[in-house]
Each structure stands twice: as C-alpha cells, then as structure tokens.
Amino acid sequence: MALTTQRVDVPVIVDESKCLEKCVACIEVCPLDVLVKNPETGKAYMKYDECWFCLPCEKECPTGAITVQIPFLLR
C-alpha cells in the first residue's frame, strides 16, 4: 500500500512558552487521547486530528498554554 502524509489544520494549539515540561494535565484528561509530549522538547502537541472540541485540556491546563479552536471543517 502506498501512503502519503497530508497537512491538516489542527484544533488544539499549544503555546510552547507556557507549556510545562513535567506536566501531563491535558494529556490525562483528553477523552480522545490525541495529545502527546514531543520527546525532544517536553512540550505537548496534538498528534492525532480527532478532536471533540470539548475543552478539558484547555480548562485543566495550569498555565493557560492551550487554546482549542473549532475544527476548520465546522468553523
């Protein structure tokens, strides 16, 4: 099977200057489990474009690093 990667506009935006390297609050509460840490930088990012725009990640982030946008297709 031949595969390609597509660029996608993702709903969850992480402000890396505010994201704490040892914190996993957003990752633990996401129902869809779409957030992970970048192993090199320790910052969270949205790895899978599977968002219900439900906001626990944003509300539970202790530093306000996360902004959830309505997914582009619905916006």
Binding site: A2, C30, D33, W52, F53, P56, L73, R75
Partner: protein
Amino acid sequence: MNIQYLKTDFLVVGGGTAGTMAAIKAKQASPESDVLILEKANIRRSGAIAMGMDGVNTAVIPGNSTPEQYVREITIANDGIVNQKAVYETGRLGFEVIQELESWGVKFQKDHEGNYDLKQVHRVGKYVLPMPEGKDLKKILARQVKRHKVNVTNRVMATRVMVQNGRVTGAVGLDVRNGNMVVIQAKAVVLCTGACGRLGLPASGYLYGTYENPTNAGDGYSMAYHAGAELTNIECFQINPLIKDYNGPACAYVASPFGAYTANAEGHRFINCDYWSGQMMLEVYKELHSGKGPVHLKMYHLDDDTISEIERVLWDNERPSRGRFHEGRNENYRTHGVEMNISEIGLCSGHSASGVWVNERAETTVPGLYAAGDMASVPHNYMIGAFVYGRIAGENAMDYVRDLEHRSPDADFLAAEQERIYRPLNQPNGVPHTQVEYKLRRLVNDYLQPPKSPHNMDIGLEKFVAYEDTLNVMGASDPHELMRCMEVHFIRDCAEMAARASLFRKETRWGLYHYRLDYPEKNDDEWFCHVNLKKGENGDMELFKRAVEPYIVDVNLKEEVYDVAVR
C-alpha cells in the same frame, strides 16, 4: 506486546454516567467485593457528560409528577413499543438518585422556597430540572468512585466480552497507550459504553464532529452482540435537531423555559413541543422540505438579560465550545436564530430506544451480563436513567456473583481475539483507519438515513457485510491507531444491525426514526412488537419479533396519538 491478567468480582466496562454509579452502588452493596472500572479514556472526563450537563430531563419529583405519569408520557412518545416495567424504574428511583447526587455536591436548580425548579419540555409533564452549575458533575463522580474504593483502569478499551458455558466470565481489552492486551476475569460484567455516536457521517465531514462524545463508537452494542445477547429497537435510530455544522444541541430544553422556541425561516412555530421524539423530527424534516427552511432556535425576541442567562448556561456546561463557534461566525442570539439541521443517524436509547435488551433488573439475555446507560434499551432514559440503571445493575450484579467462582479464560478464544486486535499492526502500511471509517460512515448516510427505502437499504446491507473484508486491509502504526481500528469494527457491526432491523420492520413508526417510504403507515396488527436481533448458533444475525410486555400503566394508544405539529 504483553498480556496483562486482571481479576475482579464485578467488571464495569465504561466509566461514564452509568458506569461510575454501577461501581459505587456495587461497593455500597458489597464493600468487601472487588469492583473494577475499565475506561478507554479517563473517568475524570469521559462519557457523554465529559464536560458536564446543563439539566436533568427525566426527573420524577414527588409533588410534581408520578412514575405512572412518566411511564404514560414515554409510552405515548414511543408509539407504545416499551417495556413499561423498565421505564417505571427510572421514574421510581430517579428522585433518590437526585438526592444522593445532591449529597455529593451536585447542584440542581431550586426556586425561592427551596423546591426543585422543574420545567415543562415534554408534551404533558414537568420532568426537566436545570443544572446551571452542572459542569463539575464528572469530577464529583470520579471523587465518589475513589472514596468507595473502586479500582479504576483508565486508557484500556474493552474489545470483547468473554462467555463460557452460557455465562459471562470477563472481558478482553487493549491498552491504548502501551498496546498490551488486557484479560480480565470477572464473575459479572456491566456494559456502560454509551451510544453508537459515530454511525452516520456528520454533514461537516469531520469524523469526530458528532453529537455524542466520539469515544462512544457503539462498543457495547457490538460486544453484547458477539456475547450472544439480544438487542432491540435498533431500527428506531437516534436523529437529533442540532446546531448546523457544530452538531451540538441547540438546546431548546434549556432555552424554551425562558421563552425560546423552534421556528422556521419566517420566524413561525411549526411544532408545539420541543421534546425530542421521532414525531418531532418528522415535523422538522417536513419543514426543511417545505420551502420554509432552514429552521432555527429563536431567541432574538427575548430581552438582553434573558439571553445573557441562556448564554451563561449553554456556554458553561454540556458543550462549552459553542460560544466560540458562534463568535467565529459573528452570530449573536440577539440578532440571529441558531440555524439547525437534522443530524446523521446514531444508536442511543438515552435519546431514542435502540439498545441492548435489558429488563427492569438491567439484565441482558446472557447470564451475568448487564447493561446500563445510553446503550441499554430503556427508551428516552437520558442521564437520570443512566444513573438509575447503573445503580440497578451494580446492586443486582453483587447478588448474582455471591456464590460464583472465576473461570480460566479459554485459550483458543484469547488467541483468536489477539490475532484480530493486532492484525493492523502487522501491516503498518495498510489503509489508514480514517479512510476506512470515513467510507463506512458515508455509506451509512447514503443508504440508511431516513426516510428509508428498501432497495437502498438492501444495497447498504450488502456493502456493510462486504466491509468485513475491508476491515482486514486496515493498517496501524501505534496502539492509538489500533484503538481507532477496533472502533471501526464496532461501527461496522452497528451499521449491519441498523440495516437488517430497518429492513425487518415493514411499517413506519416513531416518526422520522423509522419512516419507510414503501410502508408509510403504522401497522399495529403486525408490528406492535419489538424487533430483536442476536447472533445465532451458526454465527449469522437472526431477527425476530418480541412481544411487548403487558402494560402496568393503562394507556389508550388509539386516542392518545403523539402529534406535535402546529396546524
């Protein structure tokens, strides 16, 4: 990949509304027993009420209504096809549930005198109790789970229920983070995995832009089916009038007590009741096809303070991102109606009636297997019904397990399941689950979205059956993708069930939910019954009629027809 073995007395699959309550009630009934919640997400924020809930829709509060009145209302709204004994329990036990939730810190709206401030949204009675501060509901439940010393395993998705010698003996799951296979021996299992909310494809085309929490992919419908349990009323789809594109509730249940109502493009009422029913959905469908669409939730005639209060409730609880959705489109309730659309189909007994068959003891037809919440067949059960049936399941299961022993899992079964789960990992260059799921759900829209046409459904059924082979071409590169692949298996099972049940019932019932173009009339002589289905001995899906249980509350269905059209 490793195999992890766990053992518990009572396994709760799904830690949402019903599941957390089932576990708590089991521990209250039998504190010395071991109870385990298996949750694919994290119980702090999972299930249909992950972010909270803005109101209770089925509150039978003494002094305001009785369980008998409630049963009557639900019987009529379901065109008579209900197990009244099961519906009655939601009315009988709901008040105790509300009081217990209150003792845990959940807040319900009260009037100046401290009485519950009930609102009328249903056709006759007052059963809606607002929860303007309902956003912490799930955190409160998670705290009680911990206090009751329930064990919780988050991020493990169950894939199959184990059945040996005619009784349930546990479940198999996938750890969606480390990829381990998890085998849990249990003496009883309750499935509380919510709706099949990813059946049809939303008009936006975004796979996860669903009404239901998209984690709820019909897991329990599929697992119960493969365990040999009966399912019922599957042809009575869930179809909702939702905010166009956003696909969340508009939400008339909250706004109509303030004076808002559903209107056509000319601003006129066309339904006299905003309570969700198939009959109401049929009126929405007709209005959209009459040239007077689109329809909208109208609030712009209300004063500014009232609208601000509605915004506060709607933007803070159940779906808090809707404020920014409107903001992004420069829409304001003071000047704009909330444009609504008919949703894609799903399966959900919490809102309609399609679910795993349960009696008033939350028992499925397989000994030791219980079901509760959106996936259990008590119609229009909503959140209070999920709590009530979680409680019933938890209490009854602890009776059931008392003298039972664990059984060692069947090695052949485990090997077959292991092969099924991990197949996509062996072919990482296989077709991505996103494409396989998109096509499946697009086919659901093409062939099953009502009004239902027999030839279309025949084609759909053929494609869903053939899709068994398509599932084998999926590839995954990590445990997360593997979870999504297994969810596509659940969705396919639900699509086949939806097609077969819809073809079997040769009449029209429940308004738009089962509107058949070739049989446009209701036919009580032949179809005043449930349509049940199960996996037969030879592995084929069997469909059959199941008689409606004798009523315990008299209802004259000839005189009391559910009709909400404004004429």
